[in-house]
Amino acid sequence: MHIPDGYLGPYTYGGLWAAIVPIWIYASGKIKETLKASQVPFLALSAAFSFVIMLFNVPIPGGTTGHATGATLIAILIGPWAAIIAVSIALIIQSFMFGDGGITAIGANCFNIAFADVLVGYGIYRLVAGVRGQSPQATRRGGGSGVISTRHLIGAGAGAYIGINLAAFLTAFELGIQTVLHVGTDGRPLYSPFPLAVTIPAIMIEHAVLFGIVEAVITIFVLIYLRKSHPDLIGRGL
């Protein structure tokens, strides 16, 4: 789902850079409100954790494998604003150091995965878990009880599924509009040549029936593991 360089034209990647910078500033401000002594290494390790969980190949029914972004999971574990920063840093390192995702497309990839996936996934988690009025800290503790209930797990799964599908939709949309925004004088598309009628079904079908389910299952399983083995870590975020 990482968009490489060359697929997006300047209007799209420039616009998404312009959109993500204020989000980073706002997220940084929100973290600063609760800045504690251990916050710098905490965010650095959270970004490293975000990077490394994307390396895991998850077995998928049918014999193939896929990767999980872990965006909603990280938001539930460390809080949505810290997750935006952590996932963004992971994506920036991936793009610069390993050529995974384009440099011009950093704004787009961060907007889709580190912002839309994280915030919508986390929002749905809170909505389904029925903890709208509570603080993020209390939500992460399972409604303040220190326990993650089945309702929280369902919320986490739904959030992960919808979050990754939204990110996939945004990716498909950004790629699909290139044929409208950037066409040469000779009629050839200058960037991604696929129209929305191709990009949306091509990207959405695999996410709706496969990768979304994997993301949801992995998010639920990680929370079940933490509930059993490290209950003290739930809600230790910002």
């Binding site: 390790l45 077995p59 040549p193």
Partner: protein, 320 residues
């Protein structure tokens, strides 16, 4: 000496289909392969970045800034010729930087083949309409899949061919420029240079995060090797496999939190002051990493002259 009967008997797990065995191998081995390639690439970057080549002698921040500018300039190009020039220039720069050509091409190939594969379909009139270039097939009636109507005649269009070529060249040139950077810069210097353009605390977070990625990757490798050595059956695929992956992610999270707490304590005990930290401010000076430390070398001057001439030529060509 004869083999005992119990050893000859197939266990329930052993009797499982080969497909499951292969699948189990696939998800563990794929992760291991990704880890090995991740570590190998970083090691190769370190090796090539220490060679006595041209780009290795250019100051890191200057190199990062100019190559990022070239990537943006490339993204603005509409002419196939101009885009091709970027590919040729990056090849020439790789040569004078003494990067082994095979290694350079190996790095570019995955992005090249991926784009080639998907851009092939864009040559057809189903995706990009335009003037016919070569006829391929004729259906007896019109078909429609979702919002896409398949025309009666399938042919390669001139516009589709040019569009695919533009995309292929643009992606290849962009990837070449990124790998020029990574292959000619030691990873620690590169991450320091990239983070030097970031505001406040982001500098520390990015460089600290990069260092600990390797620590966590090593942990994942240990998890997999431990798991493989304890399991000989294929039963670990499917739900069990997914549960195992999830449990290792959870464990990795607990390791990350523990490590971050220890790091925080270690930093505090060394007099690290968090009160000075601001997310979007200049922050505390980093020794050896500030622009004020910059001194021009001959290689830097040559690189600046080349960059100015190259940019000027590309802009002049675009305006023509």
């Amino acid at each position: 000496m004869t083999i005992p009967e119990w050893l000859k008997q197939k266990t329930e797990h052993g009797a499982q289909s080969r497909e499951h065995g292969k699948a189990k191998e696939r998800f563990l081995d794929k992760t291991l392969r990704d880890i090995v390639s991740f570590t190998e690439n970083t090691m190769f970057n370190e090796t090539t970045s220490l060679k006595n080549g041209f780009l290795q002698s250019v100051e890191t921040r200057l190199k990062v800034l100019t190559i990022m500018f070239f990537i943006i300039l490339l993204s603005l190009q509409k002419s196939i010729l101009a885009i091709a020039v970027f590919s040729l220039v990056s090849l020439a720069l790789a040569l004078i930087s003494r990067i082994p050509m095979l290694l350079f091409i190996q790095r570019i190939l995955p992005a090249f083949f991926f784009t080639l594969l998907i851009s092939l379909s864009a040559t057809l009139n189903v995706i990009v309409q335009g003037e016919p270039f070569a006829n391929l097939y004729r259906f007896s009636k019109l078909y429609s899949i979702g919002g896409l109507t398949i025309p009666r005649e399938i042919y390669i269009t001139k516009q589709g061919l040019l569009s695919s070529l533009t995309l292929l060249l643009r992606v290849t040139a962009s990837v070449s420029l990124v790998f020029l950077l990574t292959l000619t810069t030691p990873p620690n210097k590169f991450i320091k240079a990239v983070s030097s353009f970031m505001p406040g605390t982001f500098k520390s977070i990015v460089s600290m995060s990069y260092r600990y990625i390797f620590f966590l990757v090593r942990k994942v490798e240990q998890f997999i090797m431990g798991f493989k050595s304890r399991n000989i059956s294929a039963a670990s695929y499917g739900v069990t496999g997914r549960k195992w992956v999830a449990s290792r992610m959870g464990l990795l999270f607990s390791i990350s939190l523990k490590l971050s707490a220890e790091l925080g304590q270690a930093m505090e005990s060394r007099g690290y002051r968090y009160e000075n930290f601001k997310f979007f401010a200049s922050g505390e000076p980093v020794r050896g990493g500030q622009i004020s430390d910059f001194k021009f070398s001959m290689a830097d001057i040559t690189w600046i002259i080349f960059s100015v001439i190259f940019t000027g030529a590309i802009i002049w060509k675009s305006l023509m």
